[in-house]
Symmetry: C2
Subunit: 496 residues, 2 copies
């Protein structure tokens, strides 16, 4: 057996353990009796430790060296050459971080979550501060494991969006910010009536409707599940075991949009190439590319007029309270632009500023330009500056997201990177599939799925996010198509 084959054999159980963690996490969030959390923390810790040990073992390094030699001179785009390159990068990163620091980061994050849940419920930032300080301190220690970087935030960002520098993100976000602030002032439509989106939306009908939309998109019950949960997410344990979740709020129909969002994540996981199944290259590319897929289905498809021309009668059938509301009014309401306090409820136009605010604060934290105890003040000042809003309490401000409680600093920018890329990818798809919008208006999604498989999903994790985007669209990340899309859709398109 070649060293390359031996390397693959060595990596397969590591991939299995990653997938097992996803099943255990899905189970915890959807099925596990609440009191089981203590057992589950032990189980997750064990799987994580074993996966880490298997991967960072000297033997992995030895096989990697030999496999590098064995693949020298082969096609640089071949699966094997890319595997060796990707694993080399992962291995060098993983070897730098002591297992004890990794375990401590995981424990601190697990411990901080319930503290954050309570602090958010009480809107009490001071109660959360010590846990946050601990998480941030451990990130400083993590950063110290690496050298030779331009700025420390690069290290954290790389765990979520690999091979992407803070400087590159900053450039994109600066351009966005320059345009978004005046655009929001122009495009905000506080007078659009969306009152009918609140009311009586029985969860059973929402569930039936949400299932029908993802089945329409292409979800098949022998390979997918859709379950209720508190915070929607997408997970899975392989291309044939895809699990998405949503949340049914009986007072709104917003589960439909979060379900379409998670469908996009699920489809990416489902259409990853089988032949890379148990290899590290067979995983999704990055959180940004992942988000480009969810935002594409949620926004480019799910908030578009062609889709609603097809789908709105089904929604009216499910919810008689919308019977009197015509399509134009409904469409204007689901696309209402209005600055608001909560990121996950933001419309397409204002969404970006929520992410930019967090990205800026995270850099201030990592560069020690803001004391953690002053975060609420810094948050509120930016919210006033960017969206013109006064934050009434920290639950609606700095405490709203779970990421920092989970130690995830460097994650937020991927939401906006993905949103920007979703427009670039969508434009390429509409170029390549000439009648794509007409297909959607007829409720046909097969060509879109196949285009995404061929141009995005099948690359899996063989390349960097930017290279993946370039291969799909011919371009590097670019804020302009996104800004043009917002201009065109919201300035001209939405009737009030």
């Amino acid at each position: 057996m070649s060293s390359l084959e031996a390397l693959k054999d060595r990596l397969a159980p590591v991939v299995d353990l990653w997938r097992i963690m996803r099943v255990l996490s899905w189970d915890q969030q959807t099925m596990m009796p609440a009191a089981g959390a203590g057992h589950r923390a032990e189980q997750m810790g064990t799987v994580q430790l074993l996966a880490h040990r298997l991967f960072v073992d000297d033997e992995t390094g030895r096989l990697l060296e030999q496999a590098t030699r064995e693949t020298e001179g082969q096609d640089p785009d071949s699966d094997d050459v890319r595997l060796v390159a990707v694993v080399r990068r992962d291995y060098d990163k993983a070897r730098r971080v002591p297992a004890e620091l990794r375990a401590e980061m995981a424990r601190a994050a697990a411990g901080a979550r319930p503290v954050w849940v309570k602090a958010k419920a009480d809107s009490d930032f001071a109660a959360f501060l010590p846990a946050l300080e601990r998480n941030v301190e451990l990130r400083f220690r993590y950063i110290e494991c690496f050298d030779d970087v331009d700025e420390p935030y690069d290290i954290l960002l790389d765990d979520f969006e690999p091979q992407t520098s803070t400087a590159e993100v900053r450039e994109t976000f600066e351009e966005l910010k320059t345009h978004l602030v005046p655009l929001i002032a122009d495009l905000r439509r506080d007078d659009v009536d969306d009152s009918f989106l609140g009311g009586d939306f029985p969860p059973a009908q929402q569930e039936a409707l949400d299932k029908s939309v993802v089945e329409l998109f292409g979800m098949r019950p022998d390979t997918w599940r859709l379950d209720p949960t508190v915070h929607p997410f997408a997970s899975g344990a392989g291309v044939d075991d895809i699990r998405i979740t949503t949340n049914y709020d009986p007072a709104t129909m917003k589960s439909l949009f979060s379900t379409m969002h998670e469908y996009g994540h699920g489809l990416y996981n489902h259409q990853l190439p089988r032949e890379l199944g148990r290899l590290p290259t067979g995983a999704p590319c990055s959180l940004g590319i992942h988000e480009s897929q969810s935002r594409l289905w949620e926004n480019m498809v799910g908030r578009s007029m062609p889709f609603w021309r097809f789908f709105y009668p089904r929604v009216q059938e499910a919810f008689p309270n919308l019977g009197e509301i015509d399509l134009d009014r409904f469409f204007a309401a689901i696309n209402k632009v209005q600055p608001s306090l909560i990121r996950i409820k933001a419309d397409e136009v204002t969404y970006g500023m929520h992410v930019i605010l967090r990205f800026e604060l995270e850099q201030d934290i990592v560069n020690r330009r803001v004391a953690l105890r002053d975060l609420p003040e810094a948050w509120n000042a930016k919210m006033k500056e960017y969206l013109g809003l006064d934050v009434p309490d920290d639950a609606h401000g700095v405490l709203q997201d779970t990421h920092w409680a989970g130690g995830m600093i460097g994650y937020f920018p991927t939401y906006l990177l993905g949103t920007v890329m979703s427009v670039q990818i969508w434009e390429q798809a509409t170029n390549d599939v000439a009648d794509l919008e007409e297909q959607i208006e007829r409720g046909q999604f097969g060509a879109l799925r196949e285009w995404l498989r061929e141009h995005v999903h099948r690359q899996a994790r063989k390349y960097s996010p930017q290279e993946t985007l370039r291969r799909a669209t011919g371009s590097a990340i670019d804020a302009k198509p996104y800004l043009a899309y917002l201009e065109s859709k919201y300035r001209a398109g939405i009737a009030v």
Copy 2:
């Protein structure tokens, strides 16, 4: 740190991996999209291999030797002394079996299951024969890993009922057989009307009723789940994460009995001692002891008159089709004695002969007294001899159970051992808790739960099954109480 503590630290992740296998298996049988089976097989194989490797490592042996010296002279019943003894036994067994043989046994079993499913559906034993031959051949190789045993079946039995010899089981079963065959002839009641147990039993009502009965017994939703599945089972990932399943057949109400059965398994898992949580001694004792708990709740409680005096009105409320049937008729019907072809549908009196038949055939297989191709004939001859029945086809005969397809030879006897022990344990409980039957008639189960915790569950896996039984009841396994129970309940007690 002492070697004993180091040993415990080394064993905890092994226990975690065992529990993870149970979660993954539960998920596969209740939640997983069907097409995920391929991924799941890889994941299970990886967890099994890693658990095995961690456990059989030389380091475990070294710590075990040192821990043995450290605990010398301590109380022989202490948790630590028992831990060392139990792990020593497990370790010596595990070290004898090559990892490759273990993996091959698992693969062959996994491969045989779908073959069996199809063969059973087609009632085609010949189609199953090659898979069965492979499983049996691997058991012979497994047996060869051990020496110094009285008879080869001992080796297989020990994996399900440790420290219990074939000779001991044979003695108990011979006594049972001598009495059961004439007892069945005496007690059979073919004329009891149980036609009303078939009919229209909507699954939603069954589910509500089943949930109400296990909640009455003491199941709490923050630590337990009850889900539908094809073949009911009990599982879980720790005392605070208990999962039982049942099957809702819309034409009968039998899910209620299987739910009470699985509740007994679940309660055992739930009441294992927390202080032994992540140690091999913190697991259930054996399949026989486990079955004693399920049979106790299913039969001693769930087929008793005191229970039904309390519970029958609720059943009548749930199923109006029973409105005209009085308690005595209902009670006679659910306790109708009549020889039948299928083990899992057998009544209390005839059940034992189904197990004895399998135990005898398994010994014939292991001692090469029967060729596998002749198994159907041997099966049918015993069915005629013991229960007077002609087997119409192999689906209703030798192909009915999944155990042999899964390579589990030596498992069946634990069903009857558990049933026999359930009566011994029940009698001790009724001796110790003077008004137990009155409590049950009032719908109170707390004292029974606590008695079981104190006398059975808290011993966990510290002792052999027979020692566990002796500590609970003062006696070794004994067929007489079981036979006397059948005599007394069925000769005198059941009105027609």
